[in-house]
Symmetry: C2
Subunit: 413 residues, 2 copies
């Protein structure tokens, strides 16, 4: 059964409300906070002084005197309240970013991964080194890092930061919490990359449409195929999930996939799969680990010039996606689909197959063709998603622990 409610919980929730308003709209004055949160002015006063005393927010130094009347004082997060490290693992590199509590990027570097060595042990060594490096370089104390937010393609455990399966490491699991526990007190979270894209796009949509926004799917096309779904939950919150779409069954007994199964969607729509179809390689060939985009570009231009076989390859890929998407829509509800990733450059070639695949299903016949839209800049969306999720979690954690602790400190002073 559900937990009981209490007055302290009320305060916690309303404090988080204030912090979220600050995240969404940047520095805000007392009055604006009251407007956004619908809390009374008196309550805002109490909460802000609490948060200020707890060193979580601060009043802006110079207030812009705009218009007459008593000048507003803007509240904003204290940047040094805590820090976040974002780790984005992609097939050929790992990007590390250090971000402060206000969401400002402080430091960033990218480490290339050697494609030959996809050894978990060496990857973990690299991860540890890089994390150490970024924190040393910043001259921050280690325990100021409150959260490490990691993303990868592949299958992620929902409750713990465990990578169950990934295109890079296969079935070699990585438990990031276990790996980092001894060196870091920070909370470690792990999300599927396309889930973060969905989170970011969902946020954008909600900003635009407000409560009218119902649901959206983000489809990432590349060497592997990812899907993230955002839907409005029962209580109005947005709920995000990352279906294992790339390895959903497309064709029983079909082409061999990188995952070892047969007939996955990825085995028809992933870059290596398109290549395989284009070159008429037998479907049970062990797929290439990595396909240079230039290779695929060649096939695409030849397809655009009329090459039957290459057109067919993209069409097959599109069909696999279309059928798969139709199944997703059956299982959830009809929703717009935002397409990202390097594969969007072949959108013109894929579209026909996608549409045809979608069109056959009962949902689409009922609800009509869902809106398809291309969103080019996937890396930015992934990073946005990281910030959205991780910083919101930090707000939550800080309110739960921070205020109480800080007030205890106050008392002893």
């Amino acid at each position: 059964m559900l937990a009981k409610s209490s007055t302290e919980l009320v305060r916690q929730k309303n404090s988080v409300l204030v912090l979220t308003a600050l995240r969404r709209h940047g520095p805000l004055a007392h009055t604006e906070l009251s407007d956004f949160t619908k809390l009374s002015s008196a309550t805002i006063s109490v909460i802000t002084t609490d948060l200020e005393r707890a060193q979580i927010i601060e009043k802006a130094e110079h207030q812009t005197a705009s218009g007459r009347g008593r000048p507003r004082v803007l509240f904003s997060q204290r940047r040094n309240c805590g820090y976040l490290i974002v780790v984005i693992i992609s097939s050929d590199a790992v990007q590390y970013s250090l971000v402060d509590y206000a969401g400002r990027l402080i430091d960033r570097f990218t480490e290339d991964r050697q494609q030959t060595v996809s050894n978990v042990a060496s990857f973990v060594r690299g991860l540890r080194d890089a994390l150490n490096r970024i924190v040393v370089r910043s001259r921050l104390s280690r325990d100021k890092i409150m959260m490490i937010s990691i993303s990868s393609k592949g299958l992620v455990e929902s409750s713990e930061p465990v990578l169950r399966w990934s295109p890079i490491f296969g079935r070699e699991q990585i438990d990031f919490a276990a790996v980092l526990r001894d060196e870091w007190s920070a909370k470690v979270i792990l999300d599927n990359e396309t889930l973060l894209v969905a989170a970011a796009v969902g946020r954008l949509e909600e900003n635009k449409k407000g409560r009218d926004f119902r649901a959206l799917a983000a489809l990432s096309l590349g060497h592997s195929i990812g899907l993230g779904v955002v839907r409005r939950g029962d209580e109005g919150k947005l709920q995000i999930s990352a279906p294992n779409f790339g390895h959903m069954l497309h064709m029983p007994g079909g082409g061999l996939c990188r995952c070892g199964s047969r007939g996955c969607i990825e085995a028809y729509a992933g870059f290596y799969a398109i290549l395989r179809t284009a070159f008429d390689v037998p479907l049970d060939t062990i797929p290439a680990k990595f396909v240079p985009v230039a290779e695929l570009d060649k096939i695409a231009t030849s397809a655009r010039q009329g090459s039957r076989r290459n057109i067919h390859a993209f069409r097959q890929a599109g069909l696999a996606l279309g059928y798969g998407l139709s199944r997703v829509l059956s299982l959830h509800e009809s929703m717009p689909i935002a397409i990202t990733g390097p594969g969007t450059r072949y959108y013109d070639l894929l579209l026909e197959g996608i549409s045809e695949g979608l069109a056959e299903s009962h949902v689409v016949r009922m609800e009509g063709m869902p809106e398809l839209r291309v969103m080019a800049d996937e890396p930015t969306l992934v990073f946005e998603g990281h910030l959205n999720r991780a910083l919101a979690m930090m707000d939550d954690d800080i309110v739960r622990s921070g205020v109480a602790v800080a007030e205890l400190n106050e008392q002893t002073v």
Copy 2:
């Protein structure tokens, strides 16, 4: 953005907590309520006296003096606080049940639907008549009916009580809210039948395993195919959804389905589809509206005696289900599957195909074969599901409106 929190909301939530405990465990004493809800004794006192004054709960007449000490006084719902009508629409009949606030069945009757006439207008007339009849027969005042909970197979709008598509009425939609608005002030809700099965089974599982329960799918086999999914949500609540599983795409360009599309799962695993395969009827034959179970029984016994063709028919059905389920598990997570409905009598014949279909997918290779379990008594589960959902909603509504109103009445006295 989320709504703000307030002390009144706290009281509401905790009141609901008390009512839910009463639902779950039957009549409870002050002490037990305190134990179950983790609320302090003092709070329980305040809440119970409030609810009692608002005529929502009452103290039991005769308290059983068991053991020494001050005897417990048991609280229970006031039966006449409000009533619920449950309407279960199935392919050949509609069942009406009148239930009081404590969940006790007061009256029930079943109306046969003529299979020839599947006319929405006449159905609606029948519905209105039957609802009137059940309330007149009970001698209750019309406005004592607080809720009408309807279920059907098919596709249901999630936010409104609108039947979008059903095996009975096809694409002729029914907006039950609109239909009943003029005669009834009661809240009208509509759920997919298998969703209710899932809700009921999920409740049972949670009672057994508590917080360890993660997720479960209920699969209903019959003339049509239904699926309900229960999963534990972010905040620990159980979330229920009814994917449009029967009409998820199984085989592109495949057999013609009752819905008019081709290749739906139902077009391979529904009763009419099994018949079609068994008799080698062309796959684009317009499917029979209704198949007597005796017909299918014959095919089954012949299959059990070794008839190749009939074994094949059930195997095809099993495969369609297995592939479909594998896709559901890909899209959510691996979870046990509870199988209900009249089709369970052919479980022995279907199992091989189901298992084979499941086994091919990436999820099952990763997580192992999900637990399959047969739950025979579907009608009971559907009714249980109705009660679970509708009465919980009534608790919620009553607390939100009832307490305040009743207290106003008090003041005027």
